[in-house]
Symmetry: C2
Subunit: 275 residues, 2 copies
């Protein structure tokens, strides 16, 4: 018998991946969590029926959440990750020696627990002494920590279930207040083929709060449409002003100093969304 | 009853799209051709069970085959398209007034016939007086036309069925001879997630024939992995030397003068393939 994981990315389009084994299928306090072994992508974590990460292509998303902001900020000592319980963004942050402390706040401790067990190549740095892991509501954490962080990264699920509030203007306002006076934040903001409205709304909201707002993209084959966007809001530093030659060396599989600015050059139909 | 088109892009991964209506399902002299109406992507042409083009996302592929080479060549008067019977690349070529004549050579007249009938927004320029449409083997046409073209574009299917020879070193050698002394060619060269070997082989072969070889990419959601590559071989002009300010205006939805150079900046794992 062949088992296939099929995800409807829209009402009328989806992906399907052959499954070797199902490790976990559980309704946590917050969402429907699955950990499955696929032929094509290796171990795959899904939440509420959406691929969160796979061992084979996770490097794209995690590198592209972490590095553009950390390279733009000249001294990113204190970094917060909201969501991201699989630990992939934390692993990338740990490649930056300037970071003294990275705090991960995920609302769902089960994501952290199962990622440590089934995704060790992704979650391995969660035990780094420079990392603090907190199981809590990111929205609350933000509002309890004013003027605290140099960089905040929002590694959320889609805006359904527990992540709805993480796409609200109130949340971006809270992030602004939780950042220091020269802070930067970045959030994953879905794809322009099926979620153009979301990208437009977030862009408009963030522009009302941050003086510098930039959108960049990356190819993530297991995410809807394969074209993923990230929105960066910055109080002072502009990612487009970073000199390629000033970007430090660290090991990657997707991000490069050459790609840093190129990632911000968007297809015309995406440019038009955020004019 | 719900009908879904499901394409196995690899043995263990694929896409699935809801079908409203099937217009054509036919074994032509060369391949299995389908023209179907999908909910998400509009009318879709498939050959041998692979998506060739859809009304909704076709602009990406067709713009990105045509414009980088035409903008790089200072005087692209005579252009050849091998394959591309749907007419999308021809439509983009016609946006360049310097082009005096574009020749389309597709081996399968049925692709042209059904595209004109069911994909009028894509095939509409096939009747342009600057266009000559020939139903013939592109390999033969190339070998019968020495020193003829300024730009040659290879808009082939995957290297299965009738397109196998279009990925051979002999074909690239033939293209070199069919080009004028300052000619440029570009070919679609599949995706780096599932066809890394193909990209490497083509790159090595083309480098042995052309002094300037460049690879660029674009996001095409209905193609495997969403990340598509194109390989350009040039006798004289380097696409990376094109000045953004010198690129003429023409209407697009994906390509922009800003994107011209950025498209050539590849993710690290793709860069590593073609070192």
């Amino acid at each position: 018998m062949d088992l296939w994981y099929t995800e409807k990315q829209t009402d009328s389009f989806g992906i399907t991946a052959k499954v070797k084994e199902t490790y976990v299928r559980e309704q946590t306090d917050f969402q429907d969590l699955s950990m499955i072994e696929t032929e094509e992508w290796g171990t795959m974590l899904t939440l509420d029926g959406m691929v969160m990460t796979t061992v084979r292509d996770e490097f794209v998303y995690h590198e592209m959440v972490a590095h553009p902001a950390l390279v733009t900020h000249p001294n990113p000592e204190f970094v917060l990750v909201v969501g991201g319980g699989d630990g992939g963004v934390i692993r990338e942050i740990m490649k930056h020696p300037k970071v003294k402390k990275a705090v991960l706040v995920d609302i769902d401790g089960k994501v952290i627990e199962y990622s440590k067990k089934y995704l060790p190549t992704i979650a391995g740095e969660l035990d780094n002494p420079r990392v603090e892991v907190i199981v809590n509501d990111g929205y609350m954490h933000i509002h309890d920590h004013k003027n605290t962080y140099d960089v905040i990264m929002v590694d959320s699920t889609e805006p359904v279930g527990p992540a709805v509030e993480l796409f609200s203007k109130g949340f971006y306002q809270g992030i602004h207040e939780a950042l220091k006076e020269d802070g930067i934040f970045v959030a994953q903001t879905d794809n322009p083929w099926f979620k153009a409205d979301l990208i437009q709304t977030v862009n408009r909201d963030v522009k009302e709060i941050f003086p510098i707002v930039r959108v960049y993209s990356a190819n993530i084959p297991t995410y809807p449409s394969g074209l993923w966007t990230f929105t960066m809001g910055s109080k002072k530093y502009d990612p487009l002003q970073v000199e390629e030659s000033a970007i430090p060396e660290f090991p990657t599989k997707y991000y490069t100093p050459r790609l840093h600015k190129a990632a911000f050059v968007l297809p015309k139909f995406v440019e038009d969304l955020i004019k």
